[in-house]
Symmetry: C3
Subunit: 159 residues, 3 copies
């Protein structure tokens, strides 16, 4: 329970499962575990109760790069929450492999890495460089629900 | 031949290989099999003869969300057709892992999950929840040929 | 050293590590190796000294499709350079698996495959069809730094 102790020390809370907006049906798994791989679906930032976190909107317009960074950090927390539900224990993650970050950008904004750093910084703070290092791509595009950031990931587990 | 029998029962036909438009050269494999993994390239919706399926255009403008759903369902059929050609038998798929759906959206349309459900619903109907469940991301972007949806996937096989 | 000899024959030079623009912090690995997989982060085209390669801009506007093709070829070289630093020897790659190409497009440009072919053609020329064949997706979107093309990849290695 090393990772969860660290989260507590940092005062961070893993959110409840996403409260899916009415009319939206999501027929897929938030995490798909198979052998020693866990594939993590695209998540957006959530409040601790699982509601969609504010602010919504495009980075470079309604949302600043700093707010986008915080949103990406919350996406990492949402991933960790889903991984904990799927794996039982976050210490089972033996290597972060790949993070794909989709940022909801206004035309002309091309500093997506500054946003995605909110995700990477938290994972590295929690898991350290050996386990936490990952390959990454960050791109600007339209995101469901107009959320500023959406990330998917793939991690290796001890399974 | 369980999956192909189900396709027949549902009255669904796997399309022929894509008829690539003149002037377009695609130097890659529709499916790349290696060990127990099959990586599926981005496909767009096809008619049974392999021609590009109508409608073309952006979801939220020329194409409705319902038409987008049908287009995503046809992308799943195109994936299954390519997987059958690569694997010989669709029953060799032991787990769907990850689906990445790219939706051609008009500005302001952010209900991409409604579109991608056309893909997920068919895979789950054919393979059931244990094998068919997958991690998924859906995003809005520009798609080659102006097709409304394009999906890639990764599946585990018995190899 | 088969691949590096081929590069030399073709007169191609692997670029130095990317010179990250001031103010940009990239807390991730260009290549993440784990078991027999190497996950390659999104890279943009570089000059031999690691500076960002011209032209910048959107394909279909400031950048032509032909220039985009050359840019994608340079992205492949940047991937090979990062893989060489991570693996020691490019001959350790036993299979290219999956390439995901993100193209910075102007509205209306939907010939992204013509651009990405610059990547695929070089990999196939160097590695031949058996090792070099890969699954691929190409899409149009906003790219960090306004670069015309950005690719990520996953390769199998002998590890």
């Amino acid at each position: 329970m090393r990772i969860e102790a660290k989260l507590e020390t940092l005062g961070l809370v893993l959110p409840e499962p996403m409260q899916v907006p009415p009319g939206l049906r999501l027929p897929f798994a938030w995490v798909r575990v198979r052998g020693n791989r866990a594939y993590v679906s695209g998540h957006i930032a959530l409040n601790p109760d699982g509601s969609v976190a504010e602010p919504l909107g495009k980075v470079g317009a309604e949302v600043s790069a700093k707010e986008g960074y915080q949103s990406a950090r919350r996406v990492a927390l949402a991933h960790l929450a889903s991984l904990k539900r799927a794996l039982g224990d976050l210490d089972r993650i033996t290597a972060w492999l790949r993070v794909f970050a989709m940022v909801n950008v206004a035309p002309g904004f091309n500093q997506t890495p500054l946003v995605t750093n909110g995700y990477s910084d938290l994972i590295l703070e929690l898991y350290g460089p050996e386990v936490g290092t990952h390959a990454r791509s960050s791109i600007g595009m339209m995101i469901p629900l107009n959320a500023p950031v959406n990330c998917e990931a793939e991690v290796e587990i001890d399974g």
